[in-house]
């Protein structure tokens, strides 16, 4: 059976606000299975390795900010001292690393069919202001681009979820290096079609 794993991190603002339980509940009730969990103070190295280093990724991130600044009439040279996409990408990466290492975070691996996509759906859009109500970010945050831009910081968006299955495996290797993966049955899976169809209640056929 095809199953997926995704790395979910309750970032430090979620921990400090006491939202970890709320976040865990959402993953539990949708039927995903928690297979690893650890409270971690990420090192600078872990933070740096968590985000890609390729020029391609950095310029993608930089260009996103450049086009946002253009839209809002912000001069990148005045604000950030450069209009080079890769340089801006590096700056934003560092903001994100700082955010990830600002205090302890709760790292988890959740498993299940389409775990990555389900996770992203529960989390909601990157910018909390745009995230739909009912998603974690939509329900618990109001952060927006104006606030983040004014403070030269990333979006404070409470939670990280892997972007795709390949990224998930890389992140799991980084955050849970060498740790055993725990195998067990979640009781709800007996009626959720995880490994088989629901069993007919034997008493009904008597």
């Amino acid at each position: 059976m095809k199953t997926e794993r995704t790395l979910i991190i309750c970032k430090h603002d979620a921990v400090a606000r006491g939202l970890s339980g709320e976040i865990i509940q959402r993953f539990e009730r949708v039927g995903l299975k928690l297979i690893a969990m650890e409270f971690i103070a990420a090192t600078e190295d872990m933070g740096q390795n968590h985000y890609p280093t390729s020029d391609e990724w950095l310029s993608k991130v930089g260009n996103r900010t450049l086009s946002e600044y253009k839209e809002k009439g912000i001069d990148p040279i005045v604000r950030l001292g450069t209009d080079d996409a890769i340089e801006i990408g590096k700056m934003i990466k560092q903001w994100n690393v700082d955010y990830l290492t600002i205090g302890p975070v709760l790292a988890m691996i959740w498993e299940g069919p389409s775990a990555v996509g389900i996770g992203r759906k529960l989390i909601g859009e990157t910018v909390p202001f745009k995230a739909a109500p009912g998603t974690i970010r939509g329900d618990f945050s109001w952060d927006n681009a104006d606030l983040a831009n004014a403070q030269n910081r990333p979006f404070y968006n409470l939670i990280h979820g892997s972007g795709d299955p390949a990224e998930a495996e890389l992140e799991i290797e980084l955050w849970f290096e060498g740790q055993e993966v725990i195998d067990y049955d979640l009781y709800s899976h007996a009626v959720m079609g995880y490994t088989s169809k629901i069993q007919r209640n034997p008493k009904l056929s008597e």
């Binding site: 006491g18 339980g21 409270f39 067990y184």
Partner: protein, 204 residues
């Protein structure tokens, strides 16, 4: 400022809590009370690891475990003999311990250390009485527990499922943290919970 009432409490979410999907609810209850998470790891304990948490060779302790079974059976020796095969308190104590070990090692558990003002008393209150039929509504066991000593015995389990384990005192917490986390223990409590704000200063 160093206050004696700021304690660390060791908590285990047992396999029934994990498999029933109660981890988030339990977390939320502690977080809502303003408690601060200091350490947390999910593990699959071995039988030896669970056994090492109890004084498994202590005859007095084992006999006390047997006495608890007597209480659960209202001292009805006939029923005790029928269900447990013996009326010897020490033998019963050993059976209870064996079953406890099987229960806690039957699946994954979440090890946690929570810090807060009188955290041990607070968390023990949140967990509720061990027997879920006696645990108050609003407590973890009162709201989510239904297993009883008698159901456990009748189902061949002996040890009944109590969802969480809470250390009894500061001393017990220290010993249990060392036993369960070993060298993987990391105290990450050096941060501020928003619920702490204003609790360590005068009103102005």
């Amino acid at each position: 400022m160093k206050l004696n009432s700021i304690e660390k409490t060791f908590v285990i979410i047992k396999p029934d809590g994990v498999k029933r999907g109660l981890v988030g609810k339990i977390f939320s209850r502690f977080e809502q009370t303003g408690l601060k998470l200091v350490s947390c790891r999910m593990i699959k304990p071995t039988e030896d690891m669970v056994k090492g948490n109890y004084p498994a060779e202590d005859i007095e302790w084992l006999t006390k475990m047997g006495e608890k079974t007597y209480v659960n059976y209202d001292n009805n020796l006939e029923e005790i003999k029928r269900d447990l095969g013996t009326i010897d308190k020490l033998e019963i104590g050993k059976k209870v311990l064996d079953s406890l070990v099987k229960y806690v090692s039957s699946g994954p558990v979440i090890l946690m250390v929570w810090e807060g003002n009188h955290s041990t008393a607070t968390i023990r209150k949140l967990a509720g009485a061990t027997d879920p039929t006696k645990a108050e509504l609003g407590s973890i066991r009162g709201d989510y527990g239904f297993d009883t000593p008698m159901l456990a015995v009748k189902s061949g389990r002996i040890a009944f499922q109590t969802i969480v384990h809470i250390s009894e005192s500061q001393d017990a917490a220290q010993k249990e943290i060392a036993h369960w986390f070993g060298d993987k223990y990391k105290d990450l409590g050096n941060y501020s919970r928003i619920d702490y704000t204003g609790s360590f200063e005068a009103f102005n």
